[in-house]
Structure formats: structure tokens, C-alpha cells
Symmetry: C2
Subunit: 163 residues, 2 copies
Amino acid sequence: MQNTIKISPLTASAFAPFGDILCKTQAPSAFHINQGNCLRHHDLAKVEATGTNARVMINIFSAKPYGLPFHLNMVERHPYGSQAFMPLSSEPFLVIVAHDTGEDPAKPQAFITQSGQGINIHRNVWHGVLTPLNKPSDFLVIDRGGDENNLQEFFFPKPYLIK
Amino acid sequence: MQNTIKISPLTASAFAPFGDILCKTQAPSAFHINQGNCLRHHDLAKVEATGTNARVMINIFSAKPYGLPFHLNMVERHPYGSQAFMPLSSEPFLVIVAHDTGEDPAKPQAFITQSGQGINIHRNVWHGVLTPLNKPSDFLVIDRGGDENNLQEFFFPKPYLIK
């Protein structure tokens, strides 16, 4: 059915066009610091904060869970900065992203995380809102502050069914 | 004893001269987003990345645990950026910070976190290395990348005993 989207496991190759996966195995490099007592999984994400008075912000989002199948009515994007979501629990969450056709979002893609995976959505990439699935979940969120309005929303003429 | 440092609970008022506490109750503001499905605990930390080609980095640190009493031999500071540590487990960790006398670090202070508390150490503040206490622990770390050397270390003539 054209309006159904099938959920896939979140992998680096599938997610690369949209952003970064925050997990130890995806680090471009890892090295010991603090006299060997700490392994630094280094530089996992492209963090961007642009515009007037731009800065990087750290926040905690407390999100209610959603059920499956999930009715996707809208996606949003942030033209001035990236947005990273690191779960503070081991619960999986749903990741919805879409390419841009030049006029509007293409048909979205849906991924489910594994325990220990967070994501960084690159600047100006269409994505769904934060959607934990099982229980209320907290996330550390690294995004952008600044003067300009950083939110664009797109409402689909017909909702997608994600399952 | 002069070279003993007593561990205190981590509170916002005690930690304010050194940095920010990353936890929901310390947010300057909180508001609902995503049609009421998500509570955004907003803007918890002063994130700084200065110098040539400066940028904010996201990393994961996997740290071995330390025991108590802890022998503190050195502190370090980062003149070009802040450094935030958010635990990815509910284990407490030790936070060691020190004022600067203008010549070197003053006698350090030691705090123990509660479950759910992370910290952001402000730019140029003397601090101990990452010290989880009970078991190996992962932390999401938000710090600074750039061209200049961003690490200064100070070794105490006589170690402190933290307990």
C-alpha cells in the first residue's frame, strides 16, 4: 500500500544521508585518555548552530510514548541547526526522516533504534517528532539557540501509516 | 587534616561557580512541545567552543571506576571550551572542581551526583578527571574541537585524599 512505511533497523549506512548515529561502535576514532582509565569514542556527530546569536544548547526532553502502527501526519526541519537525541534509558525509539524533493518532503523512511543508539539529525533534514514507543522516556537533546525562527513544518495531505 | 577533602552532595548553589547541573529540575524553563506530548527542559548549560576552527563535539566516554578514598594528584582545565558529562546509567560519579587563585588551583571541592544528574564544567575551570565510583560507566560528553591545545594540567605537590 502506497501510504504504508515499513520500519527498518537503524544502521549507519541507511541513516548517513540524514545524520549521525550516536553510539560507541560508530565513532570515527577511539583512544584512551586519563592514563588509560577512559576510552574516548571521539567526535560522533556534525553539530551545527548557525544564524544570529547562534549557540549550542543542551536540554532534556521528556516524551510520552506512541503506539504502533503510528499515523504520521507531519514532519519538521530546522534550517539553522542540527538536533541530537541521546536516550537516557535503554528503550528503543522510532526515527522518521525524509529527503527533500526541492519542493516538499519525499516519502519518509522509518527506523527503530537499538539500545545504546542515539541520533543526530543534520541541519535542514525533514524528520518526525520524538517518538519513544514503549514508555515515557527522557532524552538529552543538543540543538541550536539563536534569533531566527528555526522550525519549519510540513503536513502531509494524506497521513502515512508506519508499522 | 589539611589534605583531606570531604565529599558533599552536588547542589546547584554549591556548583554554580564552576558550571551547570544537567537535570530536569535545574532547567531555567520548561514547556510542552509536539502537541503536548513532550516536555522540553530548556537550555540547561552554557556551552562554549572558542578558538580557531572551533566547533562543538559529541563523544561517548567509557570510564573505569575509581575507589574511595580517592587520591587526587592532578586537576586539568580547558581554556577554549566547556565540557559536559551526562551519565548514560543511573550510577553516581564524583565531581572534583577547584577555583583558580590567579597562579594555580585552590584547594579542590568534591561532590557526588545523584541519579539523573550530569554536569557541564565551564571553560577554564579546574576539574578532576572523570571518576565514576561503582562500575564501568558510559557518559555522553559535549566538548570543544579546534586547532589550539585545549588541555592544561596541574599536579599537586602533595596529593589530596578525597573521602
